[in-house]
Each structure stands twice: as structure tokens, then as C-alpha cells.
């Protein structure tokens, strides 16, 4: 038991313990609650950065607890885990600050922040899971921790959205569980291994393996919102904005997408999966999801619903990248895990600001809002440009790698999908920008709050500005050390094919 054991535990515990404590705090102890939240988030970030340095220098972090006969709970931190951990930890800090501001005066804050912390605990658990069992455990925990956040508002619509969310995710979880158990009975191990651990079963269990792949991919595909399993995501928009940020950028859909990556590379192995003939269909599903999400986004007037369909589309880029399975496409898919997170969280923060400050929920209500809230809309614009794929924002890097990766792998059709998607992205984002910046503002906003001299509360303004700057930075300095792109390349080098 040394640092390699305790550091992953610290990463987990730094949100678990504050979360559990917060549950039992009285509603009016907001000072202590904020302290716990921020201390936990900062501690987690520091621990993660420490691990980042360690992993960069080749340290392997592993924590192992006996759990089932022959199966342990394993937390193992490698480059791939770290990519996701850093993303969710960093964004969680910002989201926490944002949520503190956002929920300033609303009831049930102890409950909210308790589950919020549990949610991020589950997410870093998913990220650090060293075997499929641990992954399943945190994956289900994530479902449970998110549900109260989705229904937080307590309205009938929220309750129903919660039921839909649960119906999808628990169904997915059951399939994932079935696939996992089945796989275990065949292999006798569930440890994530670079290039997979099932290839030795080879031809004898081909049918079973294809079935297992289908079960598990559908299982994680639900959270990754692959069409046709996506319908919970737009409905979940009834939740407060920090929750949307969490769902779309930090935790839930990311966990699904990350699951696809894990399954393809560390369970089946890209090569073996390709030989099973399952990656092609997966890529097609991802492509279809990209186009379908974009098309649906086009017709949404509700801002958050438009962003939600945008997420459906954007997260599928990750799946597309890993399903194409060439080295460059892999880098593209992996790096999009981070890029999409940073960009989409910016957009949701901004949407939340509009709703909280001015009561704006619809695109049609956004006329001239750029003049009222220039900082917010500037951040939003950066995020939107990134989504469309304009350089130098992060989205461009992704699309570039995905495109040349697809060409390299001989999957030319994917390029058309990417191009079409970019056009559609432009088609549903540019009108928003146009309305916001170039239309005259209405005489009165739907429901305006007074936050003093600034355009809104600093806790609401700071996070989107930071994430917008990050979105640009990761695009601009993509070649710098420790940039997501470099890191994704490192993963590909260390765990996959590159020499």
C-alpha cells in the first residue's frame, strides 16, 4: 500500500466523502457546503495533476480490492483513464463554481450537491476502472447518482424525464451486465488489457463474442446517446443548467463514449473487433447518429434542446473515431472526448446564464442578447465555432484528425458524414449567433434578475469564460506538451499501434 494505491483512492474519495457529508448538512449551512465542495474539487484536481505527472513519467497507479470470487475491484490509472479523469475533474471544479452561483437561492441544495459529488465520483470511477466489473459498478452508480439531479426540479415533467432516463440507462445497464457476465464465463478475466483479452478465444466463440459485443455496446451506447437510444437526453433538459453541463460534458454521455473506447480497445482489441466484423456497423451507427442529431437540432427552438441534439451528434464523433480504428481516427476520437466536453460545457453554461439572468429559454427570445451579455455571448460564440469546426477552436483539430484518419483507413464515406455534419452544425449555430449579435434587443427580457454591476453573477460568468478560453487554447496549442492532442497521441503510441 503506497502512493500508487492511495492516489486513485484519494481521487475517488475527494468527492465521495464531501458528498456524503453534504447530504447531512442543514439547508442553510451554505458556507460549509461551499467549502466542502470547493475543497473536494481542488483536492481532486491536485491529486489528478500529480498522477498526470506520474503517468507521464511511466508510473502505474493501481488500487485493488477483493470483491467477488476471482474478481477484484480495480482502479488503474493509465494515459487513457487520465485523459477522462483530467477532463471531468477540471470541468467539475468549474461546474461546481457555476452551480454554487446558479442555485444561489433555490431549495434542496444539500441534496443537489450531495448527488452532484456522487455523480463525479462515479465518473472518475468509470474513468479509472481497471476491469469491466469495476466499470459496470461505477457505470450503474452514475445512473443512480444522476437520477435525483434529473428530477431535481420536482415538476411532473421532471419526474417523467427521470423515468425515461432510468428506463433507458437501467435497460442499458442490464444489457451491459449480461454481456459482462457472459464474457467472464468465457474468459475467466475482465481486466482491461491493451489490444483486448478475448482474441485468444478466436473462432470457437465467434457467435458468442459478437453477441457479447452487441450487448455491451448497446449497454454503453445508451449513455453515449447513440441513435436510436438517445431519446432520454433531450428530455433530460428539464434539469437545471449545471446538471445539463454535467450530463453532456463531464459525466454521463462521456462515460458512455468512454465505455465504447474501453470496449473496443481494452476488451476486444480494435484489430480483433474488426476481424469479428463488428466495427463497421458501429461506425455506421455513429455516422447515422451524427447526421440525425444535427438534423434534429436544426428544428429546435428551445435552446437547451438544440444543444442536446447537438450533443447527440457530437458525442458520436468519438464513437466514429474509435470505430474506424485507424491510428489517426483513434487520436481524433479520443481528443474529441476532451474537446467536445470543453466546448459543450461552455455552451451549456451560457444557456444557463441566459435562463438565469434574463429568463431566456428559446432561440427566438435571444434577439440582441449579445449586447446585454457580451461576455457570455462571446463565450458562446467560441463554443459554437468550435462545434462547427472552425479553426483555431478545438473542434477543428478533431475533425481534421477524424477526416484524415477515415481516409487513411479507407473509410471515405466518413468524410462525407463529417462534412455534412459541419454544414448542419453551421446551419443550426450560426442563426443563433446572428440573432444574438445582430438583432435589436426587445424592450424587456422575459424574466430579468439583477446581479449588480456585471452582466451576471461572477460565479456564473467565470466558468464559461474559462472554458471558452480553454476551447481556443487546446486548439491553438494542440502541439504543446500535455495538450489533449499530445496526450491522445501518447495513448495511441503506448497502447495501440504507433511505434
Amino acid at each position: 500500500m503506497n502512493g500508487t494505491f492511495w492516489l486513485p483512492m484519494l481521487v475517488l474519495g475527494s468527492s465521495l466523502l464531501p458528498g456524503l457529508l453534504i447530504f447531512f448538512l442543514a439547508e442553510d449551512r451554505s458556507g460549509i457546503r461551499t467549502l466542502l465542495n470547493l475543497a473536494g474539487a481542488v483536492a481532486k484536481l491536485l491529486a489528478v495533476l500529480w498522477m498526470l505527472w506520474g503517468v507521464y513519467n511511466g508510473v502505474a497507479y493501481e488500487a485493488r480490492l477483493p470483491f467477488l470470487p476471482g474478481l477484484d475491484l480495480v482502479l488503474r490509472v493509465g494515459p487513457l483513464s487520465l485523459l477522462f479523469v483530467v477532463l471531468s475533474t477540471g470541468l467539475w471544479l468549474l461546474t461546481t463554481i457555476y452551480a454554487i452561483g446558479y442555485l444561489e437561492r433555490s431549495p434542496h441544495r444539500s441534496r443537489f450537491f450531495g448527488f452532484f459529488s456522487l455523480c463525479v465520483t462515479a465518473t472518475v470511477g468509470v474513468a479509472m476502472a481497471g476491469n469491466l466489473l469495476t466499470f459496470v459498478l461505477f457505470y450503474e452508480l452514475l445512473t443512480l447518482a444522476t437520477y435525483p439531479l434529473v428530477v431535481h426540479r420536482g415538476s411532473e415533467a421532471a419526474r417523467q424525464a427521470g423515468q425515461v432516463y432510468l428506463a433507458h440507462t437501467l435497460f442499458g445497464g442490464a444489457l451491459l451486465l449480461a454481456g459482462t457476465v457472459w464474457l467472464y464465463t468465457l474468459t475467466g478475466t475482465l481486466e482491461f488489457t491493451p489490444r483486448g483479452f478475448v482474441s485468444h478465444l478466436g473462432e470457437t466463440h465467434r457467435g458468442s463474442l459478437i453477441a457479447i459485443f452487441a450487448l455491451t455496446v448497446v449497454g454503453v451506447g445508451v449513455k453515449a446517446a447513440l441513435v436510436p437510444l438517445h431519446s432520454w437526453l433531450p428530455r433530460a433538459m428539464v434539469a437545471p443548467a449545471p446538471v445539463s453541463a454535467l450530463l453532456h460534458a463531464v459525466a454521463v454521455v462521456k462515460a458512455g463514449a468512454f465505455g465504447v473506447v474501453r470496449l473496443l480497445y481494452d476488451v476486444f482489441g480494435a484489430e480483433f473487433a474488426a476481424s469479428l466484423g463488428v466495427t463497421g456497423p458501429l461506425a455506421v451507427v455513429a455516422g447515422a447518429t451524427i447526421l440525425y442529431g444535427s438534423l434534429r437540432a436544426l428544428y429546435q427552438d428551445d435552446l437547451k434542446r438544440r444543444l442536446a441534439f447537438s450533443t447527440v451528434s457530437q458525442v458520436a464523433y468519438i464513437t466514429l473515431g474509435v470505430a474506424i480504428a485507424g491510428p489517426l481516427a483513434t487520436i481524433g476520437g479520443l481528443v474529441h472526448l476532451v474537446h467536445q466536453g470543453v466546448m459543450k460545457i461552455t455552451l451549456f453554461f451560457c444557456a444557463g446564464n441566459l435562463a438565469e439572468t434574463l429568463g431566456i429559454h428559446k432561440v427566438s427570445e435571444m434577439c440582441g442578447v449579445g449586447r446585454r451579455m457580451p461576455w457570455t455571448m462571446a463565450a458562446f460564440t467560441v463554443g459554437a465555432f468550435g462545434m462547427i469546426g472552425l479553426p483555431p477552436v478545438a473542434g477543428f483539430v478533431t475533425k481534421w484528425y477524424l477526416g484524415i484518419g477515415a481516409l487513411e483507413a479507407g473509410q471515405d464515406w466518413a468524410v462525407y458524414v463529417l462534412a455534412g455534419s459541419s454544414l448542419l452544425n453551421a446551419a443550426y449555430f450560426l442563426p443563433i449567433l446572428h440573432v444574438a449579435w445582430f438583432r435589436p434587443p426587445p424592450p424587456a427580457w422575459p424574466h430579468e434578475h439583477d446581479f449588480g454591476p456585471r452582466e451576471t453573477a461572477w460565479a456564473l460568468l467565470l466558468p464559461p469564460v474559462v472554458t471558452a478560453i480553454l476551447s481556443v487554447a487546446v486548439g491553438l496549442f494542440a502541439a504543446a506538451p500535455f495538450s489533449p492532442l499530445e496526450w491522445a497521441t501518447l495513448i495511441a503510441e503506448r497502447e495501440f499501434y504507433l511505434p
Binding site: 467477488l68 470470487p69 443512480l144 435525483p148 420536482g154 442490464a174 451486465l177 449480461a178 464465463t185
Partner: protein
């Protein structure tokens, strides 16, 4: 370390502390609650000294009266017994604490005279506890029958205690069923005694063969115990009885009493009948599968919380019986999974019924659709319900997950796709009915609630049980070695000598 010689005495204490406590509480009703609580604490505490004894010496037989089998009666402790005793102690102490508050009339009486229900609850419940412990400890099939009678009668009386017409009806039906079940079991006892001339389980295990009379005894005893365990389609009595009893009693019935008859069935199966290739295992598995689906669907259809929880018990019992066909090739681990399900269901279901009691107290009703806003007013209670629900659904990392994982694993590796499918479907249905309740609990009230007072004890005991069901998920590495003491599930042992536990006529320690 407690001296070895005194240790077997703790097993006797487990039976007689609650029994004497019941008598004292009956004799001195004015301080009955205090005496009852004291006895409950002492009884639960008596489980602890047995653990080091078991760890140090392995399974132990205790000869009551010094005679030993076949003339006298023996008590026997192995890992399985220990697990059941500990489960009873955990649930028992929590329910005891809960009951002191729940049974107290809402406007507390100035004269300190305990309520009539409270006054009768304690003796009955302590006798029930004594009967449970006696049943788990006994290794004599006739003595087991006596404990079964004691248990059944106490359970029926407790069911009727809440006094409503529903409770009386439920109790009446329960009484008939209980007697019928006992009769079936007794028939088997008579047959076995006549055929093999002994009542001791260990000796019987050495003597039984695949003969008609053994099969008849198997049929009679299994049928009797199935009625008491409420396996579909013999479950009809359970929902009315469990739903109409008062909350702490429902918790005891669902968590412990049903488990006792299942334990007995398991024990008989493991020691006497396991080798008979009768096709009964398959039948039990099929009935268990139907029970899972039927019970879950019925639970989903209920409008009242306590009925929902009671039907959930019907479904969860089904899981236990899936172990029978799976263990034929799956071996000891499958039985371990069944025991795990027994334990985690006990904690979870007790927690659920206790929360139902708190909600009932809070809103003066248990209509699910009108449970709104509870989460605001009773967050700990609804939290307890959720934790218990997680285990019932079989989501990780709960105790229920461990059991279901192992059963699923056995089903997959044996190619029993049907059973696997049922287990997964059962988990989803369980999620549906659990979240049906939780969903409403988050919505703000349309109907104003007339809030009764729910003391913190009631909330926290339920939470402790729910948390226990979750923590059980991490306990396999600790519990499995314990369960294996004395090899109650046979097999697994590499050398044949080690496989012979006291249940199979192994070493006997003269106590104390």
C-alpha cells in the same frame, strides 16, 4: 480472546436470552419495553463471541443434556448457521429500536404506561427471535419442527397484533398456511424416523439412501416448507399478511421469518436430499423464475406501498430458488450466492418496511401516488428506501448485486439462458417498482400532508439497514470464508477428509 470452553454456551444464550427476556417482559409489562430492549441488545451481542469460536475451532456441535445424537438433541453451528444468526441479530436490533418509537402512541402518554400493542409486541417478538435462533442452531429434525411451530405461532400472533380487520384476515390465512406447512414437514419427519430410526440430521445424512420413503419425505418436507416460504404459486397468503401487519412486524416477517423456512429447506437439501436426482431442483428453479416475474409485475401494479413491498418479497424469494437447479453443476458458490441474497434481502426488505412505516406515520397513508414531497421532509427515510432498493434491484455494489452476479454467472456458464433472462428482467422490473415510489417522492405535494412526527430513531434504523445491504456488497471476501466453515455446501474441498463437517457426522465437541 474468550475462553473456548465458555463459547458453546453463547449458542444456548442466543436461544434463552430472548426467551427469558420475553418472559420477563410478559411478567412485568410496566417495564416491558425496557426489558425487551435490554434482551434484544444482549441477544444481538451474544452472536459476537461465537465468531472467534467458529474461526478458531471450525464447526461445532453442542450436545444438549450431554446425551448426544441419536438419543438426545444436538445444536450445531457452522458458517451458514452463523450467517443466519448474525442476520437475525442485525435486523432484530434495528427493528427493536424502531419498534420502541413506532408502537408508541403519537401523543405520548403522561403516565408512562406502554401502549397495549407495545406491551404484547415485546414478548411475542422475543419469542420469535428465540425461535429463529433455535431453528438456525438445531440439527435435529423433530426439534426443528418444534422451533418451526414456535416461529409460526409467534409470527401469526404478531401479524394480528395491529388489530385491524385486514390484519386479522391476513393472520387467519397465515395461521392455516403455517399449520399446513408444518404438517407437511412433520409428515416427512415421521417418515424419515420410521425408515432410518434417528432424528439427527448428521446421522440421517449418513443413513439416507435413494429410496421411496426418502423421496416421499423430500416431497412432504419440501412442500410444507415451500408453503411457508411462499414460493409461487404458494405465495397467496404472503401479501395480505405482510402488508397488513404493523411496519416493524412486516419487516420481521419479510426479512427473517420467510428466510427461516428457506434456510431449513436449504439445510435439508444440503444434508439429506441433495443427491437425489428427482427433477425437483428444476421444478423449484422454474417456479422461482415465475415468482420473480409474477411478483415483480404484481408489485408494479400495486397502489399501496406496503403491498408493493410485500409483492417484491414474493419476487425476491424467487431468486433464492434459482440456486437449486444452478447448484447442481455450479456447486458451492451458487449456494453462497443464494445465502448472499438471503442476507441482503433481509437487510434491504427490513429497511423498506421500516421506511414504509415511517411514511405511513408521516402521511397517515401509504398510497404511492400521494407520497409526494416526502423526500423533502424525510430525506433520510427516502434515502434508506433507495439504498434498500438498490440492493433489491441488484445494482452494484450492493449485496443483492453479488448474489445476482454469481447466479447469472452460473446461468451463463451452464447455458441456462432462460434463467439469466428472467434474472435480468427481474432486476429491471424491480427498478421500475422501486423508482415508481422514489419518483413520486421527489415531486412537490399537491395534497397537503398532515405531518405526524417521525422520530429520528425510526429514520436512522432504516437507513442503517439500507446501508448494511449496500455494504454487504463489499463483504464477500470476508463472508465467504465464514460461510465455508464446516463446509455446509460440501464440495470444493480438495481432500475428502476435510469435507466432513459436523453435519456429516464429523468431530463432535462436548459442550461446554
Amino acid at each position: 480472546m474468550i475462553p473456548n470452553l465458555a463459547s458453546p454456551g453463547w449458542a444456548v444464550a442466543l436461544i434463552f436470552i430472548p426467551l427469558l427476556g420475553a418472559m420477563l417482559a410478559f411478567l412485568l409489562p410496566r417495564i416491558g419495553v425496557t426489558l425487551g430492549l435490554l434482551a434484544a441488545v444482549l441477544t444481538a451481542g451474544s452472536v459476537l463471541p461465537l465468531l472467534p469460536m467458529l474461526a478458531a475451532h471450525g464447526a461445532t456441535n453442542i450436545r444438549i443434556g450431554g446425551w448426544g445424537a441419536p438419543l438426545g438433541i444436538e445444536l450445531s453451528i457452522d458458517g451458514l448457521t452463523m450467517a443466519m444468526l448474525a442476520m437475525t441479530a442485525l435486523v432484530g436490533i434495528a427493528v427493536s429500536a424502531y419498534a420502541t418509537c413506532y408502537l408508541r402512541p403519537v401523543p405520548s402518554r403522561p403516565d408512562g404506561q406502554p401502549d397495549l400493542q407495545q406491551r404484547h409486541f415485546w414478548p411475542l417478538w422475543l419469542v420469535l427471535w428465540a425461535a429463529l435462533n433455535a431453528l438456525f442452531l438445531s440439527s435435529d429434525i423433530f426439534n426443528l419442527y418444534v422451533t418451526l411451530e414456535l416461529l409460526g405461532l409467534a409470527a401469526v400472533a404478531l401479524t394480528a397484533l395491529s388489530g385491524g380487520a385486514d390484519a386479522l384476515n391476513g393472520a387467519m390465512r397465515y395461521l392455516l398456511v403455517s399449520l399446513l406447512g408444518s404438517l407437511g414437514y412433520l409428515l416427512g419427519v415421521a417418515l424419515l424416523y420410521h425408515a432410518y430410526g434417528t432424528l439427527d440430521l448428521g446421522l440421517l445424512a449418513l443413513r439416507v439412501g435413494d429410496e421411496t420413503v426418502t423421496r416421499a419425505a423430500l416431497g412432504a418436507m419440501t412442500a410444507g416448507l415451500l408453503v411457508k416460504t411462499a414460493l409461487f404459486p404458494l405465495h397467496f397468503w404472503l401479501p395480505p399478511a405482510h402488508a397488513s401487519a404493523s411496519a416493524p412486524v412486516s419487516a420481521l416477517l419479510s426479512a427473517l421469518v420467510v428466510k427461516a423456512s428457506f434456510y431449513l429447506l436449504l439445510r435439508l437439501w444440503l444434508t439429506l436430499f441433495g443427491d437425489l436426482d428427482s427433477g425437483l431442483a428444476t421444478l423449484l428453479g422454474v417456479l422461482g423464475a415465475i415468482a420473480i416475474l409474477w411478483g415483480s409485475i404484481q408489485a408494479l401494479r400495486q397502489a399501496r406501498l406496503k403491498l408493493l413491498i410485500a409483492y417484491s418479497t414474493v419476487a425476491q424469494i424467487g431468486y433464492l430458488f434459482l440456486a437449486f437447479p444452478l447448484a447442481a453443476t455450479g456447486g458451492a458458490v451458487v449456494w453462497g450466492a443464494a445465502v448472499y441474497l438471503v442476507l441482503s434481502h433481509a437487510l434491504a426488505k427490513a429497511a423498506m418496511f421500516l421506511t414504509a412505516g415511517s411514511l405511513l406515520r408521516f402521511g397517515a397513508h401509504d398510497r404511492i401516488a400521494d407520497l409526494d414531497r416526502v423526500v423533502h421532509r424525510l430525506p433520510i427515510t427516502i434515502g434508506a428506501f433507495t439504498l434498500a432498493g438498490v440492493s433489491i434491484m441488484g445494482l452494484p455494489p450492493s449485496g443483492g448485486f453479488i448474489g445476482k452476479w454469481l447466479l447469472l454467472q452460473a446461468a451463463f456458464s451452464q447455458g441456462r439462458w432462460g434463467l439469466a433472462l428472467v434474472m435480468l428482467a427481474g432486476g429491471l422490473l424491480a427498478a421500475a417498482y422501486v423508482f415508481k415510489v422514489i419518483g413520486y417522492a421527489f415531486t412537490p405535494a399537491v395534497v397537503p400532508h398532515q405531518a405526524g412526527l417521525v422520530p429520528p430513531t425510526m429514520e436512522w434504523t432504516a437507513l442503517a439497514l439500507g446501508a448494511g445491504a449496500i455494504l454487504l456488497g463489499f463483504a464477500w471476501p470476508l463472508l465467504w470464508p465464514l460461510l465455508e466453515i464446516g463446509m455446509p455446501f460440501g464440495a470444493l474441498a480438495p481432500d475428502p477428509g476435510a469435507a466432513v463437517g459436523p453435519w456429516l457426522g464429523g468431530p463432535r465437541i462436548l459442550a461446554p
